[in-house]
């Protein structure tokens, strides 16, 4: 019963903190839309347990001038993988 969590707003909205309160081991996080600013935010990323793998959506990173600036912890993926992730996990929790 693992979950994919999508986070789509910047850290100003504190969505990651809310998500981390209820995340389970094995769940994964995908940063999309304004959520991709988290991909360059070492301090926020350090709050995420190593049990939770982290992705960032390429299209949104490129649009915002963040491509190649993301932290080493973040795997950059496209929409193809986004779809696959929603299939791999039994449910998707969207934070917006």
């Amino acid at each position: 019963m693992s979950s994919l969590h999508t986070i789509s707003r910047s850290s100003q909205h504190e969505l990651l903190q809310a998500c981390l309160k209820i995340i389970n081991p094995g769940d994964e996080i995908l940063f999309i839309e304004d959520g991709v600013y988290y991909c360059c935010d070492k301090k926020s990323l350090s709050l995420i347990s190593r049990d939770n793998y982290v992705y960032g959506l390429r299209e949104d990173l490129v649009a915002r001038g963040l491509r190649d600036k993301q932290d080493a912890l973040v795997e950059v993926v496209g929409y193809h993988k986004f779809v696959e992730l929603t299939v791999q996990h039994s449910k998707t929790v969207s934070w917006f």
Binding site: S3, K91, V93
Partner: protein, 120 residues
Amino acid sequence: MSKKAFTFISRTAPYGSNRPKMSLDAALATAVFEQEVNYLFMDDGVYQLLANQNGEPIQAKTLGNALETLDLYGIDEVCVDYESLQKRNLEAGDLTIPVTLLDATQMRALINQSDFVINL
């Protein structure tokens, strides 16, 4: 069709936006389908539960009263993130309906056992 567990998470204050009402309407519709419905208030969402609301001066429906109907629809698991409540200097006695206070471990378990988790 087997019964599924839906959990609705509501994180925003009442009146300032339409989101709390959207979340409530979706939860009630789910209850009508006789599914298991859990409701979890986090962050500013706990403000929806404050007692003594009165939407009249701003010509809005009083959301606190609407939440009292959760019970009538058979939604008895109304949960609140205890930390969100504490952070706002509120306690269970300030709220308009009885709720179950959850810590992080309990919230994780709730999410883990849910078939659907809907943030609105």
